[in-house]
């Protein structure tokens, strides 16, 4: 039950932070990505504030043996830089640079009723994830044969 409360509080903070930062506005995000236009450095402050806060907090959190409500920290292994990381990040960058939406702001679109971009973008985002799941499934099948 305490885990539920943590998820609610953390989710609320995350969504509130995105909206306060202006990250939910694709035009604001594109204003940062458009270095050849009237460049808006706001996202430097967003990412800077987030990384420094999380960095200081994590440093302190990881001195513990385990989280307060779990047996262990669930972290991805440091597997090294591979082709999937590079290709995936590049493809994500193309989609982000076109639309101004990364996954957090895309989910936050659900806060606004009647925006046609919500259905189009979120629907295709889910489709893209399913496609990636199928692709890795096929690759795993091919490895077995």
């Amino acid at each position: 039950m305490k885990r539920v409360l943590v998820l609610l509080v953390a989710g609320l903070m995350f969504g509130a932070g995105l909206a306060l930062a202006g990250m939910t506005l694709p035009q604001r995000v594109l204003g940062f990505l458009d270095v050849a236009g009237a460049w808006d450095p706001a996202l430097v402050f967003v990412l800077g504030g987030a990384v420094i806060t999380a960095g200081v907090g994590y440093y302190w959190v990881f001195r513990r043996d385990h989280p307060i409500l779990d047996q262990r920290f669930h972290l991805a292994g440091e597997g090294g830089v591979d082709a999937a990381l590079l290709a995936g990040s590049a493809l994500f960058g193309i989609g982000w640079g076109i639309s101004g939406y990364c996954p957090g702001p895309a989910v936050a679109l659900l806060a606004v009723p009647g925006n046609r971009e919500t259905v189009i973008f979120l629907g295709s985002l889910l489709g893209g994830m399913l496609l990636a799941g199928l692709a890795s499934h096929w690759r795993a099948m091919a490895d077995i044969d």
């Binding site: 885990r3 539920v4 943590v6 998820l7 609610l8 953390a10 989710g11 609320l12 995350f14 969504g15 509130a16 932070g17 995105l18 909206a19 306060l20 990250m23 939910t24 458009d34 270095v35 990412l47 504030g49 987030a50 990384v51 960095g55 994590y58 959190v61 385990h66 989280p67 920290f73 440091e78 830089v81 999937a84 990381l85 590079l86 990040s89 590049a90 493809l91 960058g93 989609g95 982000w96 640079g97 076109i98 639309s99 996954p103 895309a106 989910v107 806060a111 606004v112 925006n115 046609r116 971009e117 189009i120 979120l122 629907g123 889910l126 893209g128 994830m129 496609l131 990636a132 799941g133």
Partner: protein, 141 residues
């Protein structure tokens, strides 16, 4: 002038604090693409936890947007097919790279992950190049 960057800074601090809360108590990374990807899971307990975080995220954004009066509005001149293509690329790309702006950008950088640093440098650089092409070569805004 500088005060206009206070909301972005405060928003960033709030996002970072959210990541710390989730790690300190639940031992989880606050990565949105991972949470969404995790919705396609057979583990119903994990599914409920991710849905809860995402629903709270939507509620948090709604509350602040109500207060600031600034919420995203649709761009009528923006082609729907281009938006759909962008969505597929964001979904496919973040699944392949196993992270996005939050998972790699905030949580990964905060714990000094080399993979995340490389991911962030690649997706920010490619996004800037793409925005240049879309806005200044194709003339779509």
């Amino acid at each position: 002038m500088l005060t206009s960057y206070l909301p972005p800074l405060a928003g960033g601090v709030l996002i970072g604090a959210s990541a710390v809360v989730l790690m300190l108590f639940n031992g989880r990374v606050a990565g949105v693409s991972g949470m969404v990807r995790g919705l396609f899971t057979r583990d119903s307990f994990a599914l409920a936890e991710r849905l809860l975080f995402l629903a709270a995220l939507v509620a948090g954004a709604a509350l602040v947007e109500q207060w600031t009066g600034m919420s995203p509005s649709a761009r009528p001149a923006f082609p729907a097919w281009l938006l759909a293509m962008a969505g597929v690329l964001v979904g496919f790309g973040t699944a392949l790279a196993r992270g996005c702006t939050s998972g790699h950008g905030v949580c990964g950088l905060a714990r000094g992950s080399l993979r995340s640093l490389v991911a962030v440098l690649v997706f920010v650089a490619v996004a800037m190049l793409t925005t240049f092409v879309v806005r200044h070569v194709w003339g779509i805004a």
